[in-house]
Symmetry: C2
Subunit: 247 residues, 2 copies
């Protein structure tokens, strides 16, 4: 159960990697060796210091790296735990890239939206086969929620939209696609406001296109599904093009 002991004398000739990297690798090895799950507790900082033969500073910096990757998760005054292994690092990295890219700020967003549409369009062929009635009803529930929340707080609108597209892509049975799709959505929500890209100027039209998608799914009509997708993403493309023209 002991954490892997660091070699006291590193390789003399090889270009040594920083100690904090060895510590980070040691923590990852500890998680793998003990087959820990997300949420499981890790040794305290002091315990890791002693086990890995490193100072608090090095251990803390290693933990910070792993935290950024969502491999570990820290709760102040409570302890250190195995992280959720989410796409948070991808979101933050892509969001910053979108904010930084100077010459063509909007290409990043356009690429993002294109991949999302590509994922969902690949669903069309599998529509006839697997797609339970319950899943269709949950999709319908999202659209209904968007209608009700229309007049109310507009904050929940984007969340419902996010949930809709996540649900739409889950029947693929490919968790990676769902998480990437959700991550891209998060990046878009973060970056778009900074580029004067209005995300939801026409909520009514958005609701309508979502309803058309649900109807196509319910009718098991792959062609209509693809057409609905095109209608849904057309205004997004148009807004990006307009913003690019302004910039």
């Amino acid at each position: 159960m002991a954490v892997e002991q660091r070699a006291t004398v590193p390789e003399p000739k090889a270009a040594r990697q920083p100690l904090r990297q060895e510590v980070a690798d040691g923590i990852k090895s500890y998680i793998l060796r003990n087959k820990l799950r997300p949420g499981d507790p890790l040794p305290t900082e002091s315990a890791l210091c002693e086990a890995l033969g490193a100072s608090r500073s090095s251990v803390r910096e290693a933990i910070r790296v792993l935290t950024a990757l969502d491999i570990v998760e820290v709760r102040h005054g409570h302890g250190t735990y195995v992280g959720r292994l989410s796409m948070s690092a991808l979101v933050e990295s892509l969001a910053f890239r979108g904010l930084l890219s100077p010459d063509d700020d909007f290409q990043v967003l356009a690429d993002l939206v294109e991949v999302r549409e590509l994922f969902e369009r690949s669903m069309a062929e599998r529509l006839v086969h697997g797609l339970s009635e319950e899943q269709v009803e949950r999709l319908q529930g999202c659209v209904d929620a968007m209608r009700e929340g229309h007049a109310g707080e507009g904050n929940g609108f984007v969340d419902t939209d996010r949930a809709f597209h996540t649900l739409l892509v889950t029947p693929l049975g490919n968790d990676l696609i769902g998480q990437l799709s959700a991550a891209f959505w998060d990046v878009y929500v973060i970056v778009a406001p900074h580029l004067d890209v209005f995300t939801h100027e026409h909520e009514a039209a958005t609701i309508a296109s979502h309803q058309r998608i649900v109807d196509a799914v319910r009718a098991r009509d792959a062609a209509e599904f693809a057409a609905a997708l095109t209608e849904h993403y057309a205004p997004v493309r148009r807004r990006l093009a307009e913003a690019r023209a302004r910039g």
Copy 2:
């Protein structure tokens, strides 16, 4: 040009975020405000300490987080610079997930390969339109390199394979797809050996299927291209299925 000054007295009632997070945000703001590009130098640690009003430990931990996201890059004894904004964080995060997932180790890899194939399959339709002769020749060059390197060092084989698929997806004009595809390849190469998935037991067959893809591209035959893709990815699926059966 000064780095953003941190508020000396934080919000008293609100749940304050850690100081290192404020420092990290300050560094990101500095990069954005001065419109720095990847490779541009950042202030030294001491300068950041003074500018942001934080100790060196906090500044270093913030830098560590940004380093993990490839937003900044540090060279020992030299300085701190704006990072390449690569997909390294995604690669490390996904690779660890693949190594950790216990019940179904191979689903992660299967999802990965499926997305890669999805990207490339979406190329088939655009083949006829844009795809320069030069790009075709570069693809052919990859295949030739795989043939020559066959008897020699097998290390370059995987690199050439990676380059081939990166080239294959570039005509889409979507940088994100190319980088995701390459990142997934990197994850596969890292994870597969740990799961007893033999990546290249039949190099000859791999070369042949790549050649068939190039031939299909040269003939501008979208259907043949799709068929060649299926032939190329079939053995990968088979190997994953075999490994899953063993596990």
